[in-house]
C-alpha cells in the first residue's frame, strides 16, 4: 500500500516562502491569488496491513519525524498500491 503525507505550516505561522511565491505570482500578473502556503509532500510505499494500523503508524511517523508539530500540521492519505502490488 501507499500513503501520502502532506505537511504544512499551521495557520497563524508566517510562511515567508509562501509569501515570496505569492509575490512572484503577482509579478507574473496572476492577480486573483489570495495567498500561497508552501508545504511538503511525502510519498511512502508501505507493507500491506490493515488500514487502521497503517494510519496509526503514519501518525506516529508524523509526530516523531515528518512534521514538527510546534509549527506544522499534517494530513495523511492512504492509497491503493500502484498496479495492485507494492
Amino acid at each position: 500500500m501507499r500513503a501520502r503525507v502532506f505537511v504544512t505550516l499551521k495557520k497563524g505561522v508566517l510562511d515567508p516562502q509562501g509569501k515570496a511565491v505569492h509575490e512572484a505570482l503577482e509579478s507574473l500578473h496572476y492577480t486573483g491569488v489570495g495567498s500561497v502556503r508552501v508545504g511538503k509532500l511525502f510519498e511512502l510505499s508501505l507493507e500491506d496491513k490493515p488500514e487502521a494500523q497503517a494510519m496509526a503508524e503514519l501518525r506516529t511517523m508524523c509526530e516523531q519525524l515528518l512534521a514538527n508539530t510546534v509549527i506544522e500540521e499534517y494530513q495523511i492519505e492512504l492509497l491503493p498500491a500502484a498496479g495492485g502490488r507494492s
Binding site: L9, V13, L14, P16, Q17, L65, V70, I71
Partner: protein, 239 residues
C-alpha cells in the same frame, strides 16, 4: 574538566568550537562522534553549528535521532551544561530539550553578519560572567533563525526567565529594525528552566580573539568554564 564538541555529518563549526575551547581558553577538549553513545568524563557538551545531515527535512530534525543525542539528553537531565550554537540550537529545539521551533528567516535570505545582543538573564552557567542588560556584539550566519513559539510558550519563557539574549540596537534597544530574521520577541538565545541547556543562533566561537573582530564570545565560553571550575568535582554526573 573536559569539553566535548559533538561532530555530526555536516557540522562545520566543530573545529572553530574546538579551537576556541582548547587553544584560546586552554581547556581540555575532545571531539565526540555522532554515533557515540556515552559521554564519559565530559563536563560540558557543545553542539556546534553547521548543516547536520544536510539540513534535510528540517534543520536538526535528523541529527536529533543520532545515537549521541540520547546520551546528550541524559547528560542534560543530570544537570550538566549543554550548549547549542546555530545548528546546535536547532537540534536542541528539534530534540525537545528547548521549547519552540525555527522558521526560515523572514527575508528568506541566508544572513551572515555581526549583530548586537542584549543580555537578558545572567543566572545561567553560560551568562554568569556577563552583566544584566549589557550589549554584546557577535556574528550570525543562518537561514533558519526565525524563532517561533506559540503565545503560551513565550509566556512560559518570560515567567521562568529563559530568554538569555535578544537582538537589539547598538545601544541596547530591542526593536523591529534590530531583528535580523523575524524571531519572535527578538529572541536570539534561550535556556531551559534549569538554565543548564542553552541554545543561541549567534556564534560565540567566532568572536574569541581580536583577530576575528571581537571577543564577546570569549566571555560566554569563559562563563561556562568558570562555572565548571567553581563546581565541586563530585558534581560531574556519570552518564
Amino acid at each position: 574538566m573536559t569539553v566535548g564538541v559533538v561532530v555530526f555529518p555536516g557540522s562545520n563549526c566543530d573545529h572553530d568550537m574546538y579551537h576556541a575551547f582548547k587553544h584560546v581558553l586552554g581547556v581540555p577538549t575532545e571531539f565526540v562522534w555522532h554515533a557515540d553513545t556515552a559521554l564519559d568524563g565530559l563536563s560540558l557538551v557543545v553542539l556546534p553549528g553547521g548543516f547536520s545531515y544536510g539540513d534535510y527535512l528540517r534543520c536538526g530534525a535528523i541529527a536529533r535521532f543520532s545515537p549521541v543525542m540520547q546520551a546528550v539528553k541524559r547528560f542534560a537531565e543530570a544537570g550538566n551544561p549543554v550548549l547549542g550554537v546555530c545548528n546546535g540550537f536547532q537540534i536542541l529545539l528539534e530534540a525537545g530539550l528547548l521549547p519552540g521551533a525555527m522558521l526560515r528567516n523572514e527575508s528568506l535570505k541566508f544572513i551572515c553578519r555581526w549583530v548586537h545582543l542584549r543580555v537578558e538573564n545572567v543566572d545561567t552557567p553560560f551568562t554568569r560572567g556577563l552583566k544584566q542588560g549589557e550589549v554584546l556584539r557577535l556574528p550570525i550566519a543562518h537561514a533558519e533563525g526565525n524563532y517561533f513559539a506559540p503565545e503560551e510558550t513565550l509566556e512560559g519563557l518570560a515567567a521562568h526567565r529563559q530568554v538569555a539574549f535578544r537582538y537589539c540596537t547598538p545601544s541596547g534597544a530591542v526593536t523591529l529594525e534590530a531583528n535580523p530574521n523575524g524571531a519572535r520577541q527578538n529572541i536570539a538565545g534561550l535556556s531551559n528552566r534549569a538554565g543548564n541547556v542553552l541554545g543561541m543562533m549567534p556564534h560565540p566561537e567566532r568572536a574569541v580573539e581580536e583577530l576575528l573582530g571581537g571577543t564577546d564570545g570569549h566571555r560566554i565560553l569563559q562563563s561556562v568554564v568558570d562555572h565548571l571550575l567553581a563546581r565541586p568535582a563530585s558534581a560531574a554526573a556519570a552518564v
